[in-house]
């Protein structure tokens, strides 16, 4: 049952130069990954027999100080006992001007909808996603509501919202 730090070290030796800092947080420590390596890292931790991260719990998105982040909460679940063997949190940071992260939908099918949600609400584009389009807001919606600089619309199809 490797700890998040051991998983971080393992990834660092496997992907030299692509794994950034291990951030010791008060509750949940996380590993920072360079965006260009994410799909390869994801495929590795899913298929590696010891790590075997078969459950992508959640993809969250953050807008922090001019950068956009995607946070991946991953767990390795034992299908026999249902227990979580170990977990890891990966954080990927991209500039707000060109927020592109490789898609992991081909590795964990649940990422398909979660990435669409991140794209819809935060405007992170996932390259290689099979069908990246809005999911919660309607087609043709302007802007990405969860951005800190989002301007609330004043009218919607002729209805005054002020």
């Amino acid at each position: 049952m490797p700890s998040p730090k051991e998983i971080h070290d393992r990834l660092k030796s496997q992907f030299p130069g692509f794994i950034l800092d291990f951030v010791e947080e008060r509750i949940d420590p996380y590993t920072q990954v360079k965006p260009e390596a994410l799909a390869r890292v994801a495929a590795f931790i899913k298929n590696d027999s010891e790590l075997a991260f078969n459950y992508l719990v959640s993809i969250s998105s953050l807008d922090e100080q001019g950068t956009l982040n995607a946070v991946y909460h991953l767990q390795s679940v034992d299908l026999q006992t249902g227990r979580t063997r170990h977990g890891v949190i990966l954080k990927v940071c991209v500039p707000v001007e060109n927020p592109v992260i490789p898609s992991v939908a081909h590795i964990w099918p649940t990422a398909d909808w979660q990435e669409r949600e991140c794209y819809d609400l935060m405007g992170i584009r996932f390259s290689g996603h099979p069908d990246l389009k809005r999911i919660l807001t309607e087609e043709g919606w302007v802007g990405h509501p969860l951005r800190k600089d989002y301007v609330f619309p004043t009218e919607y199809r002729g209805i005054d919202l002020t």
Partner: protein
């Protein structure tokens, strides 16, 4: 209904054009405002594309604009059939972030309310599932029983659907004096009520024909799509956060984790998912009985400062809700409002499996599959 589209086409010299039909968003069997774009070939389904978002209120944005405590009533409106459990998950996420302790009596009250709400939510699930497949009476029986739970909630917190009952560090009000007696009365008749449902629905010949061997999810497929709760357990994975990552006082309570066994057909079919919910209700009743018996006296709420500012940091916490694992990811910047709040709604993941399991099934079976995964659109769309 077991014939696949490929088997039919093999013997047919005619290739018909596919037809695209629209199911929902306004349709009783879609359990809310869900739209399915269905491409059919005769009676068989080629593909299904769910369209969600009709109930989207951008709760995550709302969360950034209200204080932690003010967000509590908004959680009621996620899975609005299990408001207590949503309150609870939110309270525990913030308690984990700020390191708040909960008094013993409050923990017991929380478990009682959470488990009663789990029963109420499963009652709606099985009642409407019967309705989806053409059985009207089980719904009436289920709602009759649920009504008694709603009455108990109303007496305790004043509301019947959106409770806003849990607080950081406890609950808002103590149980009323008559609660123990009335809840005991409800539980005394509950097992025989479930026996009645078993004869009405679970062992009903038509119901089994419609659900057994239909919509089979393997354990791997279910986990690939992030399915949790009864939907995952019905596929044979005994993953229940109350057992594998116990929170509150669950490590002290006796209950069984229910898994599917393929009793009427293949492991992980619609009947297994239905049966998991029936059996879980018996376990929930068992938990509530234990809590009522051991309910200690004492405080129901830890005192918090009037202006609540959790420390900086981020936290992810998931709780076992009736529909699956409800997770909150909170980023705190040390102010009174969350800097960012992400909600992992289990129904959102459950509905995303539909395209993967619908190819080659009959149109009527799509309704059976959709009903069996028990989604609530308030939680899908958030």
């Amino acid at each position: 209904m077991s014939q696949s589209i490929n088997q039919v086409l093999e013997f047919s010299p005619l290739k018909t054009d596919g037809m695209t039909i629209n199911m929902g968003p306004q349709h009783p069997s879609t359990h809310g405002v869900l739209r399915l774009i269905v491409t059919t070939d005769g009676e068989f389904i080629e593909s299904v594309e769910p369209v969600v978002g009709y109930l989207h209120r951008c709760k995550e944005k709302i969360g950034e604009n209200v204080t932690y405590a003010q967000f509590m009533p908004y959680t009621d409106r996620l899975d609005y059939l299990a408001g207590m459990n949503n309150n609870w998950a939110w309270a525990m996420a913030v308690e984990k972030l700020a390191g708040i302790k909960v008094p013993e009596r409050a923990e017991y009250i929380r478990v009682i309310m959470g488990e009663l709400n789990r029963i109420a939510s499963h009652l709606v699930a099985i009642g409407t599932y019967g309705l989806d497949l053409g059985a009207w009476s089980p719904l009436v029986y289920a709602f009759n029983e649920r009504e008694k739970i709603m009455d108990l909630f109303e007496k305790t917190c004043g509301a019947r659907l959106t409770y806003n009952y849990y607080r950081f560090g406890g609950v808002s009000k103590d149980l009323p004096d008559e609660f123990r007696e009335e809840c005991g009365k409800l539980l005394a008749g509950f097992d025989s009520f479930l026996d009645e449902i078993d004869t009405l629905l679970s062992e009903n010949y038509i119901f089994i024909k419609r659900t057994a061997n239909v919509g089979v999810f393997s354990a791997k497929l279910a986990l690939d799509y992030g399915l949790t709760g009864p939907n995952l357990r019905a596929s044979g994975v005994p993953r229940d956060l109350r057992r594998v990552a116990p929170y509150s006082i669950y490590d002290r309570l006796q209950f069984d984790v229910i898994v599917g066994h393929g009793t009427k057909g293949i492991l992980g079919d619609c009947w297994d998912r239905y049966d998991c919910r029936i059996k879980e209700m018996r376990q929930s009743a068992r938990i509530v009985r234990q809590c009522l018996k051991d309910l200690p006296e004492g405080e129901i709420k830890t005192k918090l400062p009037a202006v609540f500012r959790p420390p900086k940091g981020h936290v992810f916490f998931a709780a076992e809700n009736p529909k699956g694992e409800l997770g909150f990811y909170i980023v705190s910047d040390g102010s009174t409002k969350p800097a960012r709040l992400h909600i992992r709604g289990p129904s959102f993941h459950s509905v995303s499996i539909l395209p993967a399991v619908s190819h080659g099934v009959m149109i009527a079976d799509l309704v059976a599959i959709l009903g069996s995964i028990d989604i609530v659109l308030g939680e899908v769309d958030r």
